[in-house]
Symmetry: C2
Subunit: 465 residues, 2 copies
């Protein structure tokens, strides 16, 4: 009964009565922070509880700044209740808070709350925008450029919408950077059989954990401008940057800095979520998207499309509001909030480093720096004999690897084939979400397993054919 | 900025600064109980608040039964947090509670929690099932039978999925009953150009407010059995039955009583929601569906499809749990819960009656009994000259009627054309959700308006051509 986010993680139904050579399953397959033991941010939960049960507004045990947030959100709800439908785009005052947040994040680049749509997690926004954009038949079918490796939401949505998936490969030898020449190659090849219309970027990257440079973002935007592509920038890990020498640049801010010729023309949608960052509130299904340069009639169609799901969950909207409108230094909850946020992000930064370093000590595993997001996506050497065996079993070699790992150690990872990878290369995705202690156990067991696996399949002979 | 649920209610942007001949807008266009002043059920909100901020489990101001519910829900969540993703089908223990609820509701008809899927409101479930069922091209395209008038989610989803909408008309002269001969007519006609695959029923009816008889349900199920149709029964108003001589029969219970030949073969999905009933918690986007007789492989595909949205909002799942697992007579919250629930349902029953009776005193308006749900769908006589004028303005006559009503009285209703109606007949949908006092004002103003409208357009001459 285990949810596996259509990535093909093999841990479904494990740890249920059968005898195993391990005492516990260690899950590192899903970006599900609270399930891995991360505690909720107190202030966020206080605001949601106050909104859910407004009698608590009279309780002296809740801080005034949390009450002020809750009162404001409730003012924006029909009948001052979280139980009313909001407008399809979300509660007005929350959309306003999002716009203010974006302006501050982007050092004054203007944000219009009319361009903000609250969503049911980021996925809802991503699928809605794709649904709105893709059309056509045969050679005029819309093509959607996505990175490989990718987060499988994209391939699933593209397939469901019967659009054309255009793969551009990230450069593993260059810390999974986006290579602009590869974009051109993929675009030119695709133009022969479809109408490329959209380019998707995930920054910081999932599953690859890279943080894009400002220069690279500018190149992508210039390319999108030249080729008239709609840019979808998945920025749900914008708070998850760990390398001290790197920073998150939003696509919108870079577009602005490129000048009005770009800022007033390139169509852009960017996505954020309550599920990642330091709050990790996946279950609330909160999120927003900001759109730029959409035709007014297209915006009307978008609202119509969004209205089919009536509205995003209002408690998720409230959670989103706290993330964009956290306690300020002079407010009573600031110290605790800041402490909790720093603790989460500090631990993630430490675990990102431990993961990369430990994996790189294992012969046959090569891991790029985990610059951001919540994942490592190391390349693993799988001996030819093991590749043969997997093929004879009708499964991908990295799936066989992950299955064996699970059966022998209880560690649950996701095979790279669920995300896409260059032909003949093998990877797995692991989250850095287990507690530091558990993560170290995981990495040790993984090392032992890998060495044993290499030995088992090592052979001087050519694999049998 | 007013959400209008794609029905075409004309009240968007009203009451914003312009001068109007009224002092307030009275909205009766959306089934949005809390926005119309209904108070949340205390127990439900206590449980949600406890789940959101578990520190409250130590507070003496929360009753023990609410704490017990919250603890159980949290036990079912990863890391005991609402912030974790649940499985795509929903939290196990909540699905179990739903199954127990259904067994009790249906007097012992067995329910298997493996057939229960929690959803993001009922809409999510309805769209998912349709998405799974429809396919084909040309004459083999799937046809979906829907009642006319219908709730526009159905027509919107069918159109988006490029399936064929097959209309069967409800019998207005017979209290909007479903007429089995009309089903046969619609089916036979549709068979010529598509492959009828699904029949949708809304019971109690939206927008028509009828409650189906047991006999009628049996007829529909027999028809579905004969023609191998998948039955989708939208039962979100199952708690909203007002006529003392009527009761809600679930399609599943009737199917069971028809014997194993039916119960073990007819494919059925039924839908429920937190949004209606006595709780009216629309904003939480909670809901469930129960499926019957689905092939195991089809179920696997359904889970895969549902996994694209990762999981339903977990706080909405918690709200659904309270609705299927309310306080029992021996528990501390029972009295208050029961009082609140009865007050809501009692007021709705009274307003259903007041609405029907008052509307039927107006010349040129004829209203069927509001037996259930939350709506009246009266037929209105629109004089030929008004029909002509509307056509010359390029709008439907009932849209012109509703616009005029809004401009002159501030009352916001939805034109019947948003739901479908027999050619040449005109209706509007109004909710019975305003407070009794406000509802009476609304009905009086509506009567005055209608009489004035009839006078204005009355003429002995034939309308000009």
């Amino acid at each position: 009964k285990q949810h596996d986010h259509y990535t093909g993680a093999p841990c479904a139904g494990y740890n249920k009565g059968q005898k195993h050579p391990f005492t516990e399953v260690i899950k590192a397959n899903i970006g599900d922070s609270h399930a891995m033991g991360q505690k909720p941010i107190t202030f966020l939960r206080q605001v949601v509880a106050l909104c859910s049960f407004p009698e608590l507004l009279n309780s002296p045990s809740f801080p005034e700044d949390a009450k002020q947030r809750a009162r404001r959100i409730l003012q924006g709800c029909g009948g001052q209740s979280l139980g009313s439908y909001s407008a399809s785009q979300g509660v007005d005052c929350i959309r306003q808070d999002v716009a203010v947040y974006i302006e501050q994040r982007d050092k004054g680049v203007p944000a219009d709350w009319d361009n903000i749509y609250l969503t049911t997690g980021a996925s809802d926004g991503i699928v809605s925008i794709l649904k709105m954009l893709v059309s056509g038949q045969g050679r005029s079918r819309s093509g959607v450029m996505i990175p490989i490796p990718q987060y499988p939401l994209y391939s699933a949505a593209i397939s469901e919408l019967e659009a054309v998936q255009i793969n551009y490969y990230l450069d593993e030898d260059n810390c999974w950077a986006l290579d602009i020449n590869e974009l051109h190659r993929a675009y030119q090849a695709a133009k022969e059989h479809c109408h490329p219309r959209v380019i998707c970027i995930i920054n910081p990257g999932n599953p690859t954990g890279q943080v894009q440079s400002r220069k690279c973002i500018e190149d992508v935007l210039h390319f999108a401008y030249e080729e008239n592509l709609f840019v979808m920038s998945d920025e749900v890990y914008q708070d998850n940057v760990y390398s001290p020498d790197l920073q998150f640049h939003s696509f919108k801010k870079v577009l602005y800095e490129m000048g009005p010729e770009y800022f007033n023309t390139v169509e852009l949608a960017s996505f954020h979520s309550t599920s990642k960052g330091y709050s990790g509130e996946c279950g609330f299904r909160g999120g927003y998207m900001e759109v730029l340069n959409l035709d007014l009639e297209v915006k009307a169609q978008l609202v119509k499309l969004l209205s089919v799901r009536l509205c995003p969950p209002v408690s998720g909207q409230a959670a989103m509001d706290v993330i964009v409108n956290p306690p300020l230094p002079h407010e009573p909850s600031y110290l605790q909030f800041h402490k909790e946020k720093s603790a989460v992000l500090g631990a993630l930064a430490e675990k990102a480093q431990v993961t990369e370093q430990t994996l790189n000590t294992v012969p046959g595993i090569k891991c790029n720096p985990v610059q951001g997001a919540m994942y490592a996506f190391p390349r693993i050497f799988i001996p030819p004999r093991a590749v043969e065996e997997a093929k004879s079993l009708g499964m991908s070699p990295d799936m066989m690897y992950c299955l064996r790992l699970l059966e022998e150690t209880g560690i649950c990872l996701v095979p790279g084939s669920g995300f896409g990878q260059r032909e003949g290369t093998y990877h797995f995705r692991m989250t850095i979400l287990p507690t530091t202690e558990k993560l170290k156990v995981l990495l040790e067991k993984l090392r032992d397993f890998h060495i044993k696996f290499l030995k088992e399949y090592a052979s001087l002979e050519e694999p049998k054919r």
